[in-house]
Symmetry: none
Subunit: 222 residues, 4 copies
């Protein structure tokens, strides 16, 4: 088992192989249950080499979190058109997000399921990345409000809450869409295209936000 043995590989390449193996193993087993033995075997190298390059399980996990976080942020960032209106930026960002998580489910699982649940310092690292995205989304919502001319009517706190709701909705959909009949040989439920998932979420969110921004309010007394 494990990758094909190939000797004398440059360090940078070997490190990536190890991190690929780590992503796979952490996603499958969880941080604690994943053993360095298994990671080394999946990577096709000996355990001491993993330690030589990545120093410790903690540092390996941190490195994985960093790499996957940066890849996700890069994918989303690359997808948005900087100068476009807020709604278009959100739309393209969501497309990028769903595309990346669909193509890279193990990396997403490590970030979303594992890193966040392992306490400090890992939770902080992924929280920082999430905060970055949250800031971006918060800014977009603020910008949209401004574009609609309702500047100041939404408290900062409320805008933050909306951003959290929106990001949470996206995460939930990403998990729903990419989870499921993995091993089902027959009847493999086809996953919706990232574009369709993004459209569904935009419809849900934007119509709501549009109303909010435009004045229509639901009320508990209603």
């Amino acid at each position: 088992m494990g990758a094909v043995k190939s000797k004398r590989v440059p360090r940078a390449v070997r490190e990536q192989q190890m991190m690929d193996a780590a992503v796979l193993t952490f996603a499958r087993r969880g941080y604690r249950a994943a053993s360095m033995d298994e990671i080394a075997e999946v990577a096709g190298v000996s355990k001491p080499l993993v330690y030589l390059y990545l120093n410790s399980k903690d540092e390996l996990f941190s490195a994985v979190i960093r790499r996957e976080s940066e890849a996700l942020v890069a994918a989303v960032t690359a997808a948005v058109e900087p100068g476009a209106p807020a709604d278009r930026q959100l739309w393209s960002g969501l497309k990028g997000f769903f595309a990346h998580t669909t193509e890279n489910p193990d990396g997403w699982a490590v970030l979303h399921q594992q890193a966040r649940t392992q306490g400090e310092p890992f939770a902080r690292e992924v929280a920082a990345m999430r905060a970055e995205i949250m800031t971006f989304v918060t800014a977009l919502i603020g910008a949209a409000a401004k574009e609609a001319g309702c500047d100041g009517e939404l408290a900062d706190r409320e805008v933050s809450a909306l951003a959290h709701a929106l990001v949470g909705a996206a995460e939930s959909l990403a998990e729903w869409v990419n989870t499921g009949t993995d091993e089902g040989t027959s009847g493999e439920r086809e996953r919706p295209a990232p574009r369709d998932t993004a459209a569904t979420l935009m419809n849900f969110a934007w119509a709501g936000l549009g109303r909010l921004i435009g004045g229509g309010r639901w009320s508990p007394e209603g």
Copy 2:
């Protein structure tokens, strides 16, 4: 550390003490990192007693998941008014959800962060509970559509997606609202009341759904 020592307690009581300790410890450390030693110490009993009553770490975790799942579903169920219109049911359900997760953050953390990431069979148990809630929300969205007279215009798959988005948004808000300056003795950021969180989410969601149901659609080409 550890609860006050109280000797010779009836089994049923001790079991609840142990499960309380387990919820606390699993929430703090995660399933794998929580040791039976620590759980026993927090419960104020010896380790063998934990095994005598709860049999194994796996069974203890399962018992915790079951207890917390049922408590959450009961809280939400008790909050909704069965005969009311869909929007009112959703509103009261969300209030119940945020109230319960705010009062019981450790239980929620075990369900949402730990159980879902520990693979089979734990993930399945929470998934079943989540599916129950998802079914309820899905039915409410369908009912709302029917009340608005747009029966059939939303595909089942799309209604499911909207339910997943809504539940994900609620989960994200629950985490956001209840997380944070736990240890900060001073400057304790005040948590919003469950009612306000529910209202924010209802505004976000319902205005959006209202638009959708009423016909207004955001479009990527727009």
Copy 3:
């Protein structure tokens, strides 16, 4: 599971019930693997009661060894006719031995398989019983030699060796005839009668010993 609950039983009776349960459990599981929990459950009493009457696992095991040893020696002793010729005494003793081990296989298993393999002090207790039998057999062989008029031609050491060989042969046969298709519902191999097993061994042994000693052929009818 376990015996029917019957309260307020006199101590002597309860002790026998417990020892019966212990024999069964020690035979099934071995000394170390048998737990006091299981013994108490099989006996139909609570664990503290076992300790109240039998004091400890070691003492319980010792008591079992003593009881079963005495029962075996008593069975063999009761079978032999004290004044008869040596060959008849051996023949009747073997019949008694095979009859007792066939009727009481668990007790025999505890003595032969468990007690002898658990080191001190248990091995010594059963060794003492075995030595008693060995002394008896040695005396019989000596007596037979004297009866045949070849007194002194066999060294004491050789007579002892012959006794060990004979007893070992008997033990091997006892295990062979009583072991086997326990659970086989169909095709239950019928066990030979103790009398036939004894006859086979007597023919094997006595013809050999008779030749060695110089005497005539032994026969069960003789």
Copy 4:
């Protein structure tokens, strides 16, 4: 206690050292009472290394049983002269058996006392080895009968019984001869030579069998 520390030993060598330590410890304490801690200490290595190489206590015990069984069968097999008459084959086989068990008393104790009393699957492994020897002995008895021209007069079942008696006698003698004043520094009772033990048993057995079969007297000098 513990062997001399020798670091960085090849795996094959270490495995044999561990199995030697295991034989010693299982023989002294019994399977259950022997702890992996003690085995590792006797072997002069740390416990994890024992697990790394032998996987578990069960597998270690099985490996020991296999090694000692094969050694015993090999010793007996190597001792017999294949083409010789039945009595000579039995004689040389017994010499080989007593020589091996005398030289290797711990291995014999593990096979005869421990493995057979630990239930499945260990009992089965040693039972298979014993059955192999029993088959060999049974064949020899049958061959001797044929050589003496009394083919068919002994029922198969009776021949089997005789083989069991003979093997049991040998086992009993092996235990008697090799047991005893182990720790007695002074007055160490001298053990009889394997050759003498074999001669005693042959005289006991063959004279008996010879009479039964109708043939002449067996003699080690013959």
